[in-house]
Symmetry: C2
Subunit: 151 residues, 2 copies
DNA sequence: TTTGAAATATAGCACGTGCTACATTCCCGT
DNA sequence: ACGGGAATGTAGCACGTGCTATATTTCAAA
């Protein structure tokens, strides 16, 4: 039983479980950007509706308290996704607007795909809110192709 | 899903954007259980392969350090999903095993669905790792029906 | 039986993401 | 012009989830 330098499990396990770790690491990375995506999309919506995004409105739509929304906006600001001045509204930067556009397009596509395979509209909307963040470019293009092929 | 009426935010409207908040609140709740699901599924796999799940193996497969895995296991224990004694392996309780079975079944179904709509197998595996946690029972049944209808 | 390397546990740091409580600022109605 | 309620900001707590560094325990080879 030749022992390679792969220190696998209790006994002489073998496997290249590197890929497993990669998948989980990928999922964790996405989890940390999901919040940014939700905020930029929402700020874009509010800006379109009211001309600006107020902290209170952001908080209410997300179902969190204002301090939570405020802290998140500070982080968005640090990341260069929004501009804001104290006691004023929040506005997307170019980078933020670009993210919002991509997120919105992806969201719509995911909902359409779910409905196309028979998911009820309400469940599709609900589930898409979480699913969308994890849909890669490759998968997105596959969704597009599938939807196009259905006339 | 058509929006009801316009939330007059800056004004004193009492708009029903409750549904938005509900979706986000739902997504946040799921996010907090996703880690438990990943761990129980992995512990089930390792138990099957080696007869027990060791902290080191859990950590390596998830791509985290041992202390991180150890802390997580303590939380799983507190939630009644696993049993463990210091310096010994980790074992699923009945509740944990049930969760693992459900998670595994759901994972397979999501991957099959993605592949069925044309997503390359590799991307399907990668994306499913994140997507699966957000797929509701309703959507799951729709996936099943869709796959069955394809012969 | 002893011992040293690997496995496991623990301490402590950083930061995210939620909260409540309280301070400050804005702005509308009087 | 100004007073008060709503909006916004800030402080501080809790806990999750990652890390590094350091103890402790286990187990198998010497």
């Amino acid at each position: 039983m030749p022992r390679d330098d792969l220190p696998s499990a209790a006994e002489g396990g073998i496997p290249p479980e590197t890929s497993d770790a990669d998948r989980f690491t990928n999922a964790r990375a996405i989890r940390s950007t999901a919040l940014f995506e939700d905020y930029t999309e929402l700020i874009a919506d509010l800006s379109e509706e009211f001309g600006e995004a107020r902290i209170t409105d952001i908080a209410r739509r997300l179902g969190v308290t204002h301090p939570t929304a405020n802290k998140a906006v500070l982080r968005l600001k640090r990341e260069g996704l929004v501009n804001s001045r104290p006691y004023r509204g929040v506005f997307l930067t170019e980078a933020g607007a670009a993210m919002a556009r991509a997120v919105k397009a992806r969201h719509r596509l995911v909902v359409r795909l779910l409905i196309a395979v028979g998911v009820p509209a309400e469940a599709a909307e609900m589930d898409a809110e979480g699913i969308e963040h994890y849909v890669s470019e490759t998968t997105l293009r596959a969704f597009e192709a599938y939807l196009n092929s259905k006339g």
